[in-house]
């Protein structure tokens, strides 16, 4: 059975409290009353009402203060102010401060019942919205784990058995048969990689990233990234010219995820550039930030595409392979560092990415 909605009335006039009690008798609500602000706030804590009626004019702590306290205790509790006709303007003030409605004195039983019903309905909707939002977050997390368990694990088991079969039959297979195995393995490997990148987008946990923040030099993630993209650059005969001084001041961040940022951006610079071109890396202090610039002489990004390149799963029409995830992840990571990424690009000429990260400041 659903619990009865709880109403609390805070008013210093006994008449008001009595008549409210009378009106709500047998109405399906639970009711508590308080005849001053302090006792009222106490009851809000203990009783956790859905709806609170507060008289604005009371001796002791005022109705406004009560409203504030209620908000602090639980901002989803709905408040309605009770005011005399002469003070409708203060009711408006109260509503600006978060009260949901007002009840002018004197009121008829019907007026009171209607406002109570609306207040309770409001509270129900608020709680529902919050529950839905929570559910959505949970679903997102769950989606990540479903993808890993229901999709990735079986595919991994398939691939493992292919590995085994191929290995067991090594001496018996003809070249052609081996080539078939090879094709299957490559396709499954691509699928696994795709699943991994999906998971990556869903599960960059920004708050967890912050746990591993430390004072680092930008040269660390950059040299990690250079190492990681070196073979790709070599294959395309692209020279990466890096003129980054190791005298630069440190930033506050996480080396591994920042490495990932630079791998993704530099990887793009190489991927979206013709063979034999150059990629240039520089870094300098600009105000309170360290700005690293990655410039390529590649195919460029059209003005229509430019606003979308950081969206998850967005891909330009370059014909290159990819999942449209690299920049989305880079953006999330840089965001977590309170930094920013800027891009300028000209079709057919090249693209420049600027990654700006706040300098490390010694906290006292």
């Amino acid at each position: 059975m659903e619990t009865k909605p709880k109403i609390l009335i805070i008013d210093d006039e006994e008449v008001v409290l009595d008549s409210c009690t009378q009106i709500l008798k047998g109405s399906g609500y639970q009711l508590k009353i308080a005849n001053d602000g302090l006792r009222g706030v106490e009851l809000v804590r203990e009783y956790q009402p859905d709806l609170v009626f507060v008289d604005l004019k009371m001796p002791g702590i005022s109705g406004f203060e009560v409203l504030e306290k209620v908000r602090e205790i639980d901002s989803t509790i709905v408040t309605v102010v009770i005011t005399g006709f002469a003070t409708v303007s203060s009711a408006v003030d109260a509503m600006k401060k978060g009260a949901y409605d007002f009840l002018p004195k004197p009121f008829t039983p019907d007026e009171f019942r209607m406002i109570a019903r609306r207040g309770i309905e409001r509270r129900r909707l608020m709680l529902e919205t919050i529950a839905l939002r929570r559910e959505k977050e949970l679903l997102r997390e769950q989606f990540a784990s479903i993808v890993s368990h229901e999709l990735k694990a079986p595919l991994g088991a398939v691939q493992q058995n292919l590995f085994a079969l191929d290995f067991e039959l090594e001496e018996k297979l003809t070249e052609e048969q081996k080539a078939k195995f090879g094709r299957i393995k490559i396709r499954i490997d691509e699928l696994l990689k795709l699943i991994n990148s999906w998971l990556r987008v869903i599960s960059v946990d920004i708050n967890k990233l912050k746990d591993s923040f430390a004072q680092v030099s930008i040269t660390k993630p950059i040299s990690n990234a250079l190492e990681s993209v070196a073979s790709l650059a070599e294959r395309k005969n692209i020279e990466i010219v890096s003129s980054i001084s190791d005298q630069l001041p440190p930033i506050l961040g996480d080396v591994l995820s920042l490495s990932e940022v630079f791998v993704n951006i530099m990887g793009n610079s190489i991927k979206y550039s013709p063979d034999g071109t150059k990629v240039t890396l520089t870094a300098e202090v600009q105000g309170q930030n360290l700005v690293t610039t990655i410039q390529d002489g590649g195919i460029g990004i059209s003005p229509e595409d430019l606003p979308h390149i950081f969206d998850g799963f967005f891909r330009g029409k370059s014909g290159q392979a990819g999942h449209g995830i690299g920049l989305a992840v880079a953006h999330q990571i840089v965001d977590a560092h309170h930094g920013s990424i800027n891009v300028t690009s000209e079709l057919g000429k090249g693209t420049t990415f600027m990654v700006s990260l706040p300098l490390f400041v010694n906290s006292p």
Partner: protein, 138 residues
């Protein structure tokens, strides 16, 4: 002498794919399909290496086993090859570099699925490392 390995993993299909490779590689492989049976096997038999799945059951139950191993004076010396399907949870940037989670003294982490050559290499080198360590202690 033939090396004896124990594999703890709750996915029988995956296990068969790993076991076939190890069989052909000349190892003797026991399998436990849940952490409980795995612990029993570890306590009753002598192994040269443990292949451990991290994500079993409702969560990272494999880690519980690693913790128990660490507390056990004898089992502490057993080398462990940790296998995980959760690549996104570890630093996946530098796939070439070995990852040692240090759950126990001698361990290494690989991502599922594992290529035969790499699997045999890791198993052999972990066993060798454990033996070298033992010899050094004597």
């Amino acid at each position: 002498m033939t090396k004896k390995l124990l594999m703890i993993d709750d996915d029988p299909d995956f296990v068969s794919g790993i076991k076939a490779i190890l069989d052909k590689g000349g190892f003797e492989v026991d399998v436990a399909y849940n952490p409980k049976d795995g612990m029993t096997a570890l306590q009753t038999k002598q192994y040269d290496l443990l292949l451990l799945d991290i994500m079993m059951g409702r969560g990272a139950e494999g880690i519980m086993i690693a913790r128990k191993l660490r507390k056990d004076v004898k089992l502490r010396e057993l080398p462990v090859l940790i296998m995980t399907g959760m690549r996104e949870q570890i630093a996946f940037l530098f796939p070439g570099e070995p990852i040692h989670p240090r759950f126990v003294e001698i361990d290494e982490l690989v991502e599922k699925p594992v290529e035969p050559k790499m699997l045999l290499e890791k198993v052999n080198s972990l066993i060798a490392a454990a033996e070298a360590k033992k010899a050094g202690k004597k």
